[in-house]
Amino acid sequence: MTLLTAVKVKHYFGGLCAVSDFNLQLHYGDLMGIIGPNGAGKTTIFNLITGVYRASEGSIRLRNTELVGKTPHQITALRVGRTFQNIRLFRDLSVLDNVRIAHYAQADYSPLEALLHIGRYRREEQRIIENSQRLLAIFKLEHLAGETAKNLPYGLQRRLEIARALAIGPELLLLDEPAAGMNPNEIDLLMEFIQWIRTEFKLTILLIEHQMKLVMGICERITVLDFGETLVEGPPEVIQNHPKVLEAYLGEGPVG
């Protein structure tokens, strides 16, 4: 069963064509990687899927819903969670609030109930707190619930960002360079962790990564992007030795 399909997606920034012809089919439970040199348009694709930008052409469908034209919060409410290449936490808010905010769409109470703290407000708030604490506990952040997000060390901030994305209750999780800034040891842990949350939360994961070790290690399929175009797609073994890929990477100099 397909969860996400992108067909002939194109995107321009002014005159610059950041994504020229992107195609993708993602099945429930897949773990797919997107690789490609810097500036290839990988992050832009995440932004197109989540509605930050509106695709200039083409179609992106989640289950049976067209995503092009929807706003980010509408798409997110369709259970798409994501993290960012450069961490974008709510820096001055507490760790707990960072996770609670992501429950916005699920919190089932009206403005009036919120202004008067009546009706479903109490029950829902209680549920949100419990779910947030459960997530924080899974990510071993529960003792930091009251800490301001910006005071967390870098690694924990990355972790909190994933926890926050999971608070959406996603079926599709988009991870933008989750291993950035990590040492080989931490990458090993992250690989294990990604596989664990994948089964635990029944996720379909699409991840962008430069660290070949991670991509080749856990992704079942990999899409190589160059100049906004899908170069090749296939399992890691195929990608690793594909002449086009080597050319794209060697032509670009070191990966980074």
């Binding site: 920034f13 992050t43 932004n47 930050v52 960012f84 974008r88």
Partner: protein
């Protein structure tokens, strides 16, 4: 010439006069914004203090026009630098609103301090002999000519300084990038102070000219004129020096035309409605560039 053309020419001249004063002040807003991305809300009051410096120089020191102008500009520049050093510099890394609030507070302080020293509106004596010529029905006063020419002169000078001199290059570099330029040996603090000095000096010049054109001055005169100049800067695209000049002449024109055809109480209404309209259509101003945020 026909009646209506004469009338239009006359109004255009008035608009140019008002526009040049707005432009001189708008430049200060836009320069400071360009370099610090901060709205210096006290700037309108620097203009007001400039008008009072002009009063002091003209009445107490009995100076003629040119020394008065230069003294006023120097005094305003000094005030600008003082404000920057004492109030804004310590806040450069604080949350942005702190600086804005400080600026608002400083503006109030300047207004009320001036009010405490000069409780009644002051009258500025005529520093220049004002000759009025009649050019085919359009009356042109020498004062108008001087104001317009002097303002334009100062603007061209500034444009030259910003685009052709090392100091100007440093200014543009800092407004372009705040992380790496300081590492390349650009004396950031000095350049920021120079920016404030130039902006305030121009406001001082505007104060002098305003005082000559509309010779009754009071401590609250800077509020409205300041806001109008600020709108000019925004209309032109804040941070953009040429934009500020264009915006000022547009606003001056609009205001003069509105008062020419409607009751004068509609002036602010039309000016601010136009501003709203422009922001909705072109939020980054006429010459400004849209700033996109990368995700």
């Amino acid at each position: 010439m026909s009646e209506s053309i004469v009338y239009w020419l006359q109004q255009t001249l008035n608009a140019l006069q008002l526009g040049s004063i707005y432009a001189l002040i708008a430049l200060g807003y836009t320069m400071v914004y360009g370099i610090l991305t901060m709205i210096n809300f006290a700037h309108g009051d620097v203009f007001m203090v400039g008008a009072f410096f002009c009063f002091i120089a003209a009445v107490y020191l009995g100076l003629p026009f040119l020394p008065t102008l230069l003294l006023t500009m120097a005094g305003a520049a000094l005030l600008g630098v003082l404000i920057e050093r004492l109030a804004y510099k310590p806040l450069r890394n604080a949350p942005r609103v702190s600086a804005i609030i400080t600026a608002l507070g400083l503006g109030l302080f300047l207004e009320n301090f001036t009010l405490a020293l000069a409780p009644y509106p002051k009258h500025i004596p005529a520093l220049l002999e004002n000759v009025t010529w009649d050019l085919g029905g359009v009356s042109v006063s020498s004062l108008q000519i001087i104001i317009i020419c002097l303002s334009l002169g100062l603007m061209f000078l500034l444009d030259y300084v910003v685009h052709r001199t090392p100091v100007g290059m440093a200014m543009r570099a800092i407004s372009w990038d705040k992380t790496f330029v300081p590492l390349m040996g650009v004396p950031v603090d000095l350049i920021i102070s120079v920016t404030f000095a130039i902006g305030a000096g121009l406001a001082g010049a505007a104060g002098t000219m305003y005082a000559l054109a509309y010779p009754v001055i009071d401590p609250y005169m800077g509020i409205m004129v300041g806001w109008k100049a600020f709108i000019s800067a925004v209309v032109g695209g804040i941070g953009n020096i040429r934009g500020a000049m264009i915006g000022a002449f547009i606003l001056g024109g609009v205001e003069i035309m509105v008062t020419a055809f409607f009751p004068s109480t509609y002036r602010d209404f039309v000016a601010f409605s136009l501003l709203l309209l422009l922001i909705v259509i072109r939020p980054y101003g006429i010459l400004g560039k849209p700033r996109t945020q990368k995700v």
